[in-house]
């Protein structure tokens, strides 16, 4: 029991010291997976707000719809869609690694490039179609 109490109060070591690494594309993509996850976390409240506006009736829905019609908001929503697909394809990349595949440097580099490319293409497709 004494050990358990000790664990609860131990200050855990911090994650790798980011400033000692030379920034690479794959490193940014790895960080982006967490950043995109956090943005989507906040975005879940946007969905909730939209559902609430529908629930409260036509007037509140029209008000939210009016906000959505601004180009700046539309652009932000496009970026949000891109973030969603970025996290989605980043997750698929993790699935591939979970099976022990794609760990050589060339594959890692290509998987990162494809994540960036496919996420942008998917977000564009959802908005165009």
């Amino acid at each position: 029991m004494a050990n358990k109490n000790k664990i609860d109060t131990i200050e855990r070591p911090m994650s790798p010291h980011l400033q000692v690494y030379k920034i690479s594309f794959t490193m940014i993509m790895s960080m982006m997976h967490r950043v995109s996850g956090f943005i989507l976390y906040l975005g879940s409240f946007l969905f909730l707000a939209w559902y609430l506006s529908i629930f409260f009736g036509q007037e509140s829905y029209n008000f939210v719809n009016q906000l959505f019609s601004f180009s700046v908001i539309k652009f932000a929503l496009f970026l949000f869609t891109w973030v969603f697909f970025h996290h989605l394809f980043g997750g698929i990349r993790h699935f591939i690694w979970d099976f022990g595949l794609g760990f050589d440097l060339n594959s890692i580099e290509w998987l990162a490039r494809l994540t960036a490319l496919f996420s942008f293409l998917s977000a564009s497709l959802v908005w165009i179609l």
Binding site: F38, Y51, F68, F95, D98
Partner: protein
């Protein structure tokens, strides 16, 4: 929060919910984007019909659990102070519960009533 012995469990849960999120997330995102600037009755019909409201509920529950684990791990990795981490962990649980419960209740109301 601190999860010394739950790594494998979280690993499996995170991937299981991810599979659900990939399939249903694309459907829900597509529904949301395609309904921007559409009329109220059109969106209401879209949610009530084709079990879209049920898809939204399942997606939201799966997504909420996924983001609860995700944020807890971010807190474990980057927040050093035990007390701060514990408070933020609880805040995370509250926020995720609000999203999951509120969305589910709203969807049941919109879909069934």
């Amino acid at each position: 929060m601190h999860h010394p012995k739950e790594g494998t469990k979280h690993f499996k849960q995170q991937r299981l919910t991810a599979v659900v999120n990939i399939v249903l997330g694309v459907i829900v995102f597509n529904f949301f984007i395609n309904n921007i600037n559409k009329s109220y009755s059109f969106v209401l019909d879209g949610l009530s019909n084709n079990l879209m409201w049920l898809i939204v509920i399942i997606f939201t529950l799966s997504m909420s659990f996924h983001m609860w684990i995700g944020l807890n791990h971010i807190l474990d990795d980057y927040v050093d102070g035990v007390k701060t981490r514990s408070i933020l962990g609880r805040l995370n649980s509250i926020m995720v519960t609000i999203v999951a419960l509120a969305t589910s209740l709203l969807m049941v109301n919109i879909g069934l009533l």
